[in-house]
């Protein structure tokens, strides 16, 4: 039960990819095919949590990596060291407090999140549009992909996700929960490898 929520956050935090692309007519399919060229990537992230219970936001920094087909890792440096790994539907958190592990396949809502983020990173348009209404605005130089969950079980916790980017590079992911609490993850490329 604790895992239900846990996952929501993890899914939200696990993001990141940089991509190069060649211009043609710009839509979700086109954006996805640009993103799909990334095989693995590693980016620096700065995550800002705007929680209504707190007067000031919490900021976390570290490195986020993605490796096809389904591996995400987050090495947090501040405010304290922590490693989060996601492989398939399995999530583990290792911190000075110990190591905990969950399997999220039992949580359709939470799993949708992980898969939405992974689909963005992997450029999997089919998977993305299966569970979200995706709206793309802007140009290739500066775009914004808005994702609203279709499944009401997901909608019960997640209001919407916004992925912003320049060309084939994801610059930030913003997640807004049902109460309006917000997490913004800004990404800065460190290393990438193309397929």
């Amino acid at each position: 039960m604790r895992a239900v929520w846990q996952l929501l956050w993890l899914a939200a935090s696990a993001i990141g990819a940089t991509v190069f692309a060649a211009p043609t007519s710009f839509d979700v399919t086109r954006l996805m095919s640009m993103l799909a060229q990334v095989d693995r990537s590693s980016v620096a992230f700065e995550e800002t949590r705007h929680f209504s219970a707190l007067a000031a936001p919490i900021t976390r920094r570290g490195t986020l990596s993605f490796e096809r087909p389904d591996r995400l890792a987050m090495d947090v440096v501040t405010p304290f060291p922590e490693t989060i790994r996601i492989a398939g539907s399995r999530v583990s958190i290792e911190s000075p407090d110990g190591r905990r592990e969950w399997d999220m396949s039992a949580q359709p809502g939470a799993l949708a999140w992980i898969e939405a983020i992974r689909a963005s990173l992997a450029g999997d348009a089919a998977a993305l549009t299966r569970s979200f209404d995706a709206t793309l605005t802007g140009t290739e130089a500066q775009w914004e992909l808005k994702l609203v969950p279709r499944d009401e079980r997901v909608g019960a916790t997640l209001r919407q996700m916004t992925v912003r980017g320049r060309e084939a590079q994801i610059a930030a992911i913003e997640i807004v929960d049902r109460r309006g609490d917000r997490v913004v993850i800004a990404l800065k490329p460190l290393e990438r490898s193309r397929r």
């Binding site: 039960m1 239900v4 919490i58 958190i93 949580q107």
Partner: protein, 773 residues
């Protein structure tokens, strides 16, 4: 119309009425606790009701194998979903967090009375400051989103604390979100049936529902299922035994019919042979059903065995018919002996009837009514029906030239018995006092049950505390008082863990104390404001917390009904039971290392109503008591046999001589079984009872002679036929792979052979002075 014809007509009517009754009104219950003694202590009562109604009997352990783990997890989830929607099941769990959602809601709603962390200190300014510091760190960590979901309503994290507090010490390993065994090759689940474990038909329906659900859940995979529970095992063993018994019954019927056909050479006469026993069984079963408002399945099985003796009655009559004689002439010769054969068995059954054990009493009544009816039909109905002029084939067995053995033979026999007894005594007769064996299970079922139990970390509990009180709340309060003792024992590693009902449902006093530890709304708000000073927390965001705490402070106490249909409720139901106006809380202890020490510390704590229970010792004591009562009934039965024969022959000395061969045969058979290493169980006892009945008949008929010195040809023919048919019937049973059928078959075969040997070797009594009319 003669009197006899009227009597015959009356019996036919009686059997017809019994047939109609059995076909329409009979209620068979498969609850084997009828074969337990009436519990004398509250431990025994608890054990008996636990066996009948308890959660342990309803809990199905399930595993799913044969596929990649992810696929098995999907099947497990689909199966759990189906079972959760099935009325046959009360609760199902496969470790899947979704199913636990309702548990979480209940915990959240009642967190302030469930959490043992709710103290005045925790809700002081310092306590709240510590809690906020812990929340801030959690909000900053990897699980921050989780914390953010409830921080505003539960900044002291009582819900999480309760979840952790109630989490079992050991859980099965989890793969892809559901439980697996330790190897990761099998997905495991538990399901609780609505039907009681002793309700075998209800269990059979639950199993059928499980199989249907699995057939749908596994669609498209090669997954296979295994399951086990006391109820499921009873269903399966019933099917296995019924299957085996009906298969063997066909074989033995064919053999017996072949023998009878050879001797009687008339189909109609062969059919007559079945009439008395079948009629006796029908009337006996009807009588038991009327007297006990239902017949136990085991009574039926055993009763059919005991009435095996009645199959011999027509043979005794028919084999005596000489050429040119009618059946009535033969009856005139053997009537008195036949009457004694029937009356000795009926008399011995009275001893069973009077034991006071529901199961044994039923068995006694069934046997008594059954043999009386069978005897009456043999004597009063059959002679009318045997075609005039019919006579059995003449058998001239070489054994007919037998001369009564000399005294030295008898000495040899006595020596043999003595030897057998000495050997048996040296090895010791091993009584099987394992309660579990009352439900005769094939070995493979037991093995599977053990595997599933270890996979699910659900060991069979042997040691427990039992708390007895006048009210549920008093029992829960006592459970809370014993907790420190158990915590010490866990710290000292003398027990691995324990389960306390008061963790799921605290006593009213504890709930009130926790509610009172919460400050009044204004004070809480003030303290929280102070505690939040210098932290990034916005007090304004915590209105949900102030509301929940205010509500929790004055809420009506949590009751068992609030926990219905949750994992908590299931646990509670397993641990708390009302019986006869008293309340019982059991505290199962896992991994007990030095029981005597824990028992001593529990006794030292002197919490009123708390008792130490060793279930194994309790059940063994019950079984031993059962066995002693059954043996005592045996002794009384033997005396009754001697008494009846003494009256019939008008000679005590003759009666002792008649009774000697069957009793010697019983002792020798028990000795042989012991030497062969069998643990003697109630099944052996019942079979030995049959041996005594059959043996007495042999002795009676063998001793029955006219003026001539030795048994007549007809008597030899009688013995040859009844021995051959009995050996065929029970010899077939002895080949069964079902332990109980094998035990009964083997015992009767050994017993019949022993009876025959002793009847031939031991001195026969002098002919009765009056002769046989």
């Amino acid at each position: 119309v003669s009197d006899r014809a009227r009597i015959a007509a009356g019996f036919i009517l009686l059997v017809g009425a019994a047939l109609i009754y059995v076909a329409t009104r009979l209620s068979v219950n498969a609850d084997f606790s009828a074969f337990l003694p009436n519990a004398t202590s509250s431990e025994q009562r608890f054990l008996a009701s636990e066996l009948k109604e308890g959660v342990a009997g309803r809990l199905l352990l399930i595993d799913i194998a044969n596929g990649p783990p992810q696929q098995l997890a999907d099947v497990s989830r689909a199966l759990a979903l189906r079972l959760a929607g099935d009325a046959a099941f009360r609760y199902v769990s496969n470790g899947d967090a979704n199913i636990a959602r309702r548990d979480l809601d209940v915990i959240r709603a009642h967190r302030y009375v469930l959490s043992n962390a709710v103290t005045e200190q925790r809700y002081s300014v310092e306590g709240l400051r510590d809690a906020l510091a812990a929340r801030l760190r959690a909000l900053s960590g990897g699980a921050g989103f989780v914390e953010n979901a409830f921080v505003a309503e539960d900044p002291t994290a009582e819900t999480l604390h309760v979840v952790e507090q109630l989490a079992p010490a050991t859980q099965p390993r989890r793969e892809f979100g559901v439980w697996f065994d330790s190897t990761g090759a099998r997905a495991v689940l538990i399901a609780q049936t609505r039907a009681a474990g002793s309700d075998i038909d209800g269990q059979a329906r639950s199993i059928a529902a499980l199989q249907t659900a699995f057939a749908i859940a596994r669609a498209g995979t090669m997954a296979t299922i295994r399951y086990s529970s006391p109820g499921a095992m009873a269903v399966e063993s019933r099917e296995l035994i019924a299957d085996d018994a009906s298969r063997l019954a066909i074989v033995s019927t064919l053999l017996v019919v072949a023998i009878l056909a050879l001797v009687y050479r008339s189909l109609i006469v062969v059919l007559f042979c079945a009439l008395p026993a079948v009629s006796g069984l029908l009337v006996g079963v009807a009588a038991v059903d009327v007297a006990f408002s239902g017949v136990h399945a085991i009574t039926l099985g055993f009763g059919a065995t005991l009435l095996g003796e009645a199959v011999d009655y027509p043979s005794y009559l028919l084999t005596q018919i000489g050429a040119g004689e009618t059946a009535r002439d033969a009856l005139a010769r053997i009537g008195r002996t036949l009457a004694m054969a029937v009356l000795t068995t009926a008399g011995a059954s009275v001893a069973l009837l009077l034991t006071g054990f529901p199961g044994l009493s039923q068995l006694g009544l069934l046997t008594m009514v059954g043999v009386l009816c069978a005897g009456a039909i043999t004597a009063w109905v059959l002679p009318h029906w045997v075609p005039v002029g019919w006579a059995p084939k003449t058998i001239r067995a070489p054994v007919a030239q037998w001369q009564m053995p000399a005294a030295r033979w008898r000495a040899l026999v006595a020596a043999a018995i003595t030897l057998a007894l000495v050997v048996a005594a040296a090895r010791g007769v091993v009584w099987d006092d394992d309660l579990a064996n009352m439900n005769p299970l094939p070995l493979e079922l037991k093995q599977r049950d053990r595997e599933l139990r270890s996979a699910l970390g659900a060991p069979e509990v042997r040691f427990m505390l039992m708390i007895e009180a006048a009210a549920q709340d008093d029992a829960l309060a006592a459970a809370e008082r014993i907790r420190p003792v158990l915590e010490d024992a866990v710290r000292a590693r003398r027990i691995a863990g324990f389960e306390l009902a008061s963790d799921y449902l605290p006593s009213f006093a504890t709930q009130r104390r926790r509610q009172q530890a919460l400050p009044p709304p204004e004070a809480l708000r003030r303290r929280f404001e102070q505690a939040a000073q210098g932290t990034p927390f916005r007090v304004a965001a915590f209105e949900p917390f102030f509301e929940d705490a205010a509500r929790g402070r004055t809420a009506p106490p949590l009751r068992a009904t609030d926990l219905a249909d949750t994992a908590l409720g299931v646990k509670l139901a397993a641990l708390v039971r009302a019986d006869d106006g008293r309340w019982y809380v059991i505290v199962p202890l896992a991994g007990v290392d030095r029981p005597a020490e824990i028992e001593a510390s529990v006794v030292r704590a002197a919490v009123p109503g708390v008792r130490w229970v060793d279930l194994q010792a309790t059940s063994r004591a019950m079984m031993a008591e059962f066995r002693q009562r059954a043996l005592a009934a045996f002794g009384v039965g033997a005396l009754l046999i001697v008494g009846i024969v003494a009256v019939g022959l008008r000679s005590i000395a003759a009666a002792v001589r008649i009774a000697a061969p069957p009793m010697a045969a019983v002792v020798a058979t028990a000795a042989m079984l012991a030497v062969a290493g069998s643990r003697l169980s109630v099944f052996h006892l019942v079979a030995l009872m049959l041996v005594a009945g059959i043996g007495t008949n042999y002795a009676l008929f063998f001793a029955r002679r006219g003026e001539s010195a030795g048994p007549s040809d007809a008597t030899w023919r009688s013995l040859a036929v009844v021995v051959a048919t009995t050996l065929c019937a029970f010899g077939t049973l002895a080949t069964s792979r079902t332990p109980v059928l094998h035990a009964i078959g083997l015992t009767v075969v050994l017993g019949v052979l022993s009876s025959l040997v002793y009847t031939l070797l031991l001195p026969s009594p002098a002919p009765p002075r009056t002769g046989n009319r």
